[in-house]
C-alpha cells in the first residue's frame, strides 16, 4: 500500500492505495464518487473522463498513485461550476442524452473542447469527440449542445445567440 494525497473536487484527500489501483476505482469504490462511469476500462470510450490538473484524462487508465500531489476534478466537483451549468442546460435543451451513462464524461470533454476552441465548428466538435463513445444519441444532440453552449459562453461580437437550428425539415 502507498499513501497518496490529492486535491479532489477542492478537498484534500489522503488514501492508501495499491500500486495497481486505477483512479476510477479509487473514486468510485473507495470515495463513492459514482458519477464517473466505466464503459470499457481500457481507455477507449471516455465514459470515465475526469480532469487531472485541469486536463481531461481517462480515469480507467490513470493509476491512483500517479495522482499523488495533484488535483482531480470529477463530475461531482462541477456542480457549482457556472460554465458547466451552461453546458448542462444546452445538453438538456438539445436532447444530448438518453440513457445518461456517457453524460458525465461527455460534459467534462465538452467543457474542455469549448475552453480550447472557443467557438468550434461542427467538424471540430465531432473530431474532438472522437474518443467519447455514446451508444444512444448518435451524437447530433451532443454536437449541437456543445456548439450552442460555446456560442453562449463565447459570444462573437454582434453574434446571434440563438441556438443552432436543429429542425430537420
Amino acid at each position: 500500500m502507498t499513501a497518496i494525497t490529492l486535491t479532489l473536487n477542492g478537498d484534500r484527500v489522503r488514501e492508501e492505495v495499491e500500486p495497481r489501483d486505477i483512479l476510477a476505482d479509487l473514486l468510485r469504490d473507495r470515495l463513492r464518487l459514482t458519477g464517473t462511469h466505466l464503459g470499457c476500462e481500457h481507455g477507449a470510450c471516455g465514459a470515465c473522463t475526469v480532469t487531472l490538473d485541469g486536463l481531461p484524462v481517462r480515469s480507467c487508465i490513470v493509476l491512483a498513485v500517479m495522482c499523488d500531489g495533484r488535483t482531480v476534478e470529477t463530475i461531482e466537483g462541477t456542480r457549482a461550476d457556472a460554465t458547466m451549468d451552461v453546458i448542462r442546460r444546452h445538453f438538456h435543451e438539445q436532447h444530448a442524452l438518453q440513457c445518461g451513462f456517457c453524460t458525465p464524461g461527455m460534459l467534462i470533454a465538452a467543457r474542455d473542447i469549448i475552453a480550447r476552441h472557443t467557438r468550434p465548428d461542427e467538424a471540430t466538435v465531432r473530431r474532438e469527440l472522437s474518443g467519447q463513445v455514446c451508444r444512444c444519441t448518435g451524437y447530433m444532440g451532443i454536437v449541437a449542445a456543445i456548439r450552442a453552449a460555446a456560442a453562449e459562453l463565447h459570444p462573437a461580437p454582434g453574434a446571434d445567440l440563438r441556438t443552432p437550428d436543429l429542425s430537420t425539415s
Binding site: 495499491e18 495497481r20 489501483d21 476505482d25 468510485r28 469504490d29 463513492r32 459514482t34 458519477g35 464517473t36 462511469h37 466505466l38 464503459g39 470499457c40 476500462e41 481500457h42 477507449a44 470510450c45 465514459a47 470529477t74 463530475i75 461531482e76 462541477t78 456542480r79 448542462r88 445538453f91 438538456h92 435543451e93 436532447h95 442524452l97 438518453q98 440513457c99 445518461g100 451513462f101 456517457c102 453524460t103 458525465p104 460534459l107 461542427e122 466538435v125 465531432r126 473530431r127 469527440l129 472522437s130 474518443g131 467519447q132 463513445v133 455514446c134 451508444r135 444512444c136 444519441t137 448518435g138 451524437y139 447530433m140 444532440g141 451532443i142 454536437v143 430537420t168 425539415s169
Partner: protein, 786 residues
C-alpha cells in the same frame, strides 16, 4: 383522446426530459453504483475453449471458488418457443459436462474487490478435452459437421418453412430470376453500461433483493425464480438507472442466476459487474444471418415472388424466454418488405454453433431481412437497367391499398410508403447526384446513393406472440395512477425506461388526461415490489402499451375526480369539465388538489357511498394485436475510395411515419440513435471468430462502434398517419432507425462501385471487404479480357 381533456394538451409537445437532471449532475444510480456493506465481488472463470468436454475444476480455495458441483439444484435456463420441433439443449449457469463457447461460465471466484477475485480466478485450473468447433453458420449443417448437442440429429435448433402463394408457378413464368447471397455478420449489442447484478438476502423482508441492469424486472423475476427454485414473493428485483439495453438486457443470463445462487449459498451480498471484454465475448450476440435468395420479376421491374433459404447463427444455446427462433421467422416474414408480390417460399434454419448465444438487438431480424431484399432489389434494377428508386416505387404498397397483408403475412395498417420514398429521393436530390456521378470526383473517390424502405412492426400483442409460440406473451401493459393528497401524481408502470425518455412521454400522457403540469407527475418503474406487473421495454412496445395503460388509468382517475368535483360544486357531472388542473362547473371550479385532499384524507366531502382514494390501475392492449407498422425510407449518400475501401457517409436522409408523436424531440432522438447503430452494423461492428471458435473482437480496439466523426448529421422528415386503434394514434418506433441503414449504405457503396462491378454482399463493409471486392472485380475483368 378523452373528450374532456383540454385540447391544448401535452401530447405532441417537445417537452424537455424529466430524467435529464440526475444524469447531468452525475447523480444517477446505475447498478454498479449501488453498494451494500460486506459486498463480495465476483470474477468468473470462463471457458477458453469453444467446444470441449469439461473435466475437473481445480480450486485454489474451496471456500471462495464455486462451480457446477456446488449448485446441484440450480435449474437450467434455456428457453425457446413452445414447439415440438424446437430442440432444446440445457443451458446451466455453471457449465456441466461440456463447454460450448469461449466465455461460457465454468466457475466463480469471490473476494472483497474485483482485482482480488481476478487474482483468484487466475489460479483456478480447468481441464477441458477440446472438441472441434463449429463456426460457419451454413457449414454447421453440412454432412459430417461435428454435432454440438447430444441428441440433436444435426446442428439446428429448428428448421421451418414460411410459404405462401405458388412459388413454383411464379418461378416457371418469371421472365427474370435473380439469385444472390447476402451475409450480415455477428455483432454485440454494446450498451455503454454493461450488464451487472447485485444480490443479497434481506432478513427484515425475508427476500432476496436483486439489483440488476435489465429491460424488464418482472419477467426476469419469473426466470430467476424458476432457475433458483424460489417462490416469486421471495424475489425482489430492482432495475435502477439502466445505461442502454437495445435488446441485450432482455434475456435471463447465467451471470444473473450465478450471482443470486452465490448470495444464497454464502449468505453475503455478492455482485458482478460486466467488463467490456466479457460483454463482447459473452453477452448476447446478434445479427449473423445468411441469405440465399432468388427474386422473380418482370423485365419492367415488377416483383413477382421470392424464394430462398435463411440461416440464422443462434450460437450455442437458446436463451430464456423466447430463444432465437423468432429471428428466423421474422427474417422470413419480413423478406418481402413493403413490396407487393405473389409468392414467397423461405426455408429457415436456426443453427447452433460454438459461439455466444444470440439474443435480440434493436430491429430484431429486420435489419438482415431489409438488407437482403433491398440489396436484391438494387441488383435487379441494375440487371434490367432501371433506376433502383423507380423499381421500389412501382412495387411499394400504396396508400389506397391499406390495410394490406404482405405475402409474408404482415398486416400493414396505414401510411403512404411511396410518399416516404419520394421524400428522401427529393431530400438527397437524386437527379443531381446522378449528374455528379457522371462528372466524377477530383479526389478519385466514387459517390454512390442507396435507398432502403423498411417496416417496423410495433405494439403487437397476444395474437402475434401466440403465433410465435412465445412462452411469455407480452400482450398488455399495466399502470397505476395514484393521486396523492396534495394533487400531485405517481405513475407506477411495468415498463423499463432505459434511455427512451419514458419518464417524460408517459408523464405527458397523464398530463394530457388530467390537465396537470408534467412537473407534478413522477413516473416510477423498475421495482417488482412497487409497480404492477409488466413486461418491460423492448419490441417498440412501450409507448403503445404502457402509454395506453397510462391513458386508461389516468382517464379513470379523471372521471372519478370529476364526480367528486361535481359533488363539491353541487353541479351535474355532465356540466363539468377538467381543465388547468381543476374541475370546472357552471358556477365555479375546484382544484384537483382540493379533490385529492377530499379523496385521500377528508372523506366527509365525498359523495355518499363513494369509496375513497384516487388510485386507479388499468391494463391496456389494443383490440387489434397483430401490431401497428411504423415505416420509412432512408437514403444514404457515400463516398468510397476504391483503393483503400474506406467509405464515408456524406448525407443521410430519413422520411418516416410513426403515427402520432407524443414528444417529437424524443422521437427524433430515437431515430438518430437507431440510425447510428444501423450505420455501425453497415460499416463497423463485427465479432469475427477464427476456425477454432475464438472470438477476435473482445475490446473496443477491435470492435468498432461509430463515433462522432464517422457519423453524418441526419436529416429527418416526418409523415404523420395516426394509427387506428391505439391511444392517440401512436405507433412504436424505437427500433426503426436501426433497420434500414445496412441496406441503404450497402446499396450506396454498391452504387458507388458499379463501374467496377464490385460485389457488395456482406456487412460490415470494412475497408478491407470493400477494397477486396474492388480487387476481385478488377481481377475478374482482367481474366475476362485474356
Amino acid at each position: 383522446m378523452s373528450a374532456d381533456a383540454d385540447t391544448q394538451g401535452w401530447v405532441g409537445v417537445r417537452l424537455l426530459r424529466k430524467e435529464d437532471r440526475r444524469h447531468l449532475l452525475g447523480a444517477s444510480t446505475f447498478t454498479a453504483d449501488v453498494r451494500v456493506p460486506g459486498l463480495l465481488e465476483v470474477a468468473f472463470v470462463r471457458s477458453q475453449f469453444a467446444h470441449g468436454r469439461l473435466g475437473a475444476v481445480a480450486k485454489p480455495d474451496g471456500a471462495r471458488v464455486f462451480s457446477a458441483e456446488d449448485f446441484p439444484h440450480l435449474k437450467p435456463i434455456d428457453g425457446g418457443p413452445e414447439l415440438p420441433s424446437f430442440r432444446a439443449a440445457p443451458y446451466h449457469a455453471f457449465a456441466r459436462d461440456k463447454v460450448h463457447f469461449v466465455g461460457q461460465i465454468v466457475a466463480a471466484c469471490l473476494a472483497p474487490t474485483r482485482a482480488q477475485a481476478e487474482d483468484l480466478a487466475d489460479q483456478v485450473g480447468v481441464e477441458v478435452d477440446a472438441l472441434p468447433a463449429v463456426v460457419d453458420t451454413v457449414e454447421a449443417l453440412a454432412p459430417g459437421a461435428a454435432i454440438l448437442h447430444d441428441g440433436f440429429p444435426d446442428n439446428a435448433f429448428i428448421h421451418a418453412t414460411v410459404t405462401e402463394g405458388d412459388i413454383a408457378a411464379v418461378a416457371a413464368a418469371a421472365p427474370v430470376a435473380l439469385r444472390r447471397t447476402f451475409r450480415m455478420n455477428r455483432q454485440a449489442t454494446v450498451s455503454l453500461e454493461g450488464r451487472g447484478v447485485l444480490a443479497y438476502w434481506d432478513h427484515r423482508l425475508d427476500e432476496l433483493v436483486v439489483t440488476l441492469s435489465t429491460q424488464g424486472a418482472h419477467v426476469m423475476r419469473i426466470g430467476l425464480a424458476m432457475a433458483l427454485g424460489l417462490p416469486e414473493h421471495k424475489l425482489h428485483l430492482i432495475a435502477p438507472d439502466v445505461g442502454g439495453g437495445f435488446g441485450g438486457k432482455n434475456r435471463l443470463m447465467p451471470e444473473e442466476v450465478a450471482v443470486c445462487a452465490l448470495a444464497l449459498k454464502t449468505g453475503r451480498p455478492v455482485r458482478w459487474i460486466e467488463d467490456r471484454r466479457e460483454h463482447l465475448m459473452a453477452s448476447v450476440h446478434c445479427r449473423e444471418h445468411h441469405y440465399d435468395i432468388t427474386l422473380y420479376a418482370t423485365r419492367e421491374g415488377r416483383l413477382l415472388g421470392l424464394k430462398g433459404e435463411v440461416h440464422i447463427d443462434a450460437g450455442a444455446y437458446s436463451l430464456w424466454p423466447s430463444g432465437p427462433f423468432m429471428e428466423a421467422s421474422m427474417a422470413a416474414r419480413n423478406l418481402p418488405g413493403p413490396y407487393q408480390m405473389q409468392a414467397l417460399h423461405v426455408e429457415t434454419h436456426t443453427v447452433a454453433t460454438s459461439k455466444a448465444p444470440m439474443g435480440p438487438y434493436r430491429g430484431v431480424a429486420r435489419p438482415g431481412a431489409c438488407f437482403a431484399i433491398e440489396r436484391a432489389v438494387d441488383e435487379l434494377a441494375h440487371a434490367i437497367g432501371m433506376e433502383p428508386a423507380e423499381v421500389r416505387r412501382i412495387n411499394l404498397v400504396g396508400p389506397h391499398q391499406m390495410p394490406y397483408r404482405t405475402i409474408g403475412g404482415m398486416q400493414l395498417d396505414s401510411g403512404d410508403y411511396p410518399q416516404a420514398l419520394e421524400r428522401v429521393r427529393e431530400m438527397v436530390d437524386l437527379a443531381a447526384l446522378r449528374r455528379r456521378q457522371q462528372a466524377g470526383e477530383d479526389d478519385g473517390r466514387r459517390i454512390g446513393v442507396g435507398f432502403a424502405v423498411y417496416t417496423e412492426q410495433s405494439g403487437h400483442g397476444a395474437a402475434e406472440w401466440t403465433k410465435r409460440k412465445s412462452r411469455i406473451v407480452p400482450g398488455y401493459e399495466s399502470a397505476t395512477a395514484r393521486m396523492l393528497p396534495d394533487g400531485t401524481l405517481l405513475l407506477l408502470v411495468g415498463i423499463q425506461n432505459h434511455g427512451q425518455g419514458l419518464e417524460t412521454s408517459l408523464a405527458q400522457i397523464a398530463a394530457q388526461e388530467l390537465s396537470l403540469d408534467p412537473h407534478a407527475i413522477s413516473v416510477r418503474y423498475g421495482d417488482t415490489a412497487l409497480t404492477p406487473f409488466g413486461f418491460g421495454t423492448f419490441a417498440s412496445r412501450s409507448i403503445v402499451f404502457s402509454g395506453g395503460a397510462v391513458a386508461r388509468a389516468t382517464r379513470a382517475l379523471a372521471d372519478k375526480a370529476r364526480r367528486i368535483g361535481a359533488h363539491l360544486l353541487q353541479a351535474d357531472v355532465a356540466d363539468t369539465r377538467l381543465a388547468d388542473g381543476a374541475v370546472h362547473g357552471p358556477n365555479g371550479k375546484v382544484s384537483l388538489a382540493e379533490i385529492a385532499r377530499a379523496a385521500n384524507v377528508r372523506q366527509e366531502f365525498l359523495p355518499a357511498g363513494m369509496p375513497p382514494l384516487l388510485d386507479e390501475t388499468a391494463t391496456y392492449e389494443p383490440e387489434e394485436s397483430g401490431g401497428f407498422f411504423s415505416y420509412g425510407a432512408h437514403a444514404a449518400v457515400v463516398a468510397v475510395d476504391p483503393e483503400t475501401g474506406v467509405t464515408t457517409t456524406l448525407d443521410y436522409a430519413i422520411a418516416e411515419d410513426c403515427g402520432t408523436m407524443i414528444n417529437p424531440m424524443i422521437v427524433d432522438g430515437q431515430i438518430i440513435g437507431g440510425v447510428a447503430q444501423g450505420i455501425g452494423t453497415a460499416l463497423y461492428e463485427e465479432i469475427p471468430y477464427d476456425a477454432d471458435g475464438q472470438p477476435l473482437a473482445t475490446t473496443f480496439g477491435d470492435y468498432m462502434v461509430p463515433c462522432a466523426p464517422e457519423l453524418p448529421a441526419l436529416r429527418i422528415h416526418h409523415l404523420v398517419t395516426p394509427a387506428h386503434g391505439t391511444e392517440y394514434g401512436v405507433k412504436g418506433m424505437g427500433e426503426g432507425g436501426a433497420i434500414a441503414p445496412p441496406a441503404a449504405i450497402a446499396n450506396a457503396v454498391s452504387d458507388a462501385l458499379r463501374d467496377f462491378g464490385a460485389r457488395i454482399w456482406e456487412t460490415p463493409l470494412t475497408p478491407r471487404r470493400v477494397s477486396d471486392a474492388v480487387a476481385a472485380a478488377c481481377g475478374d475483368r482482367s481474366e475476362d479480357a485474356v
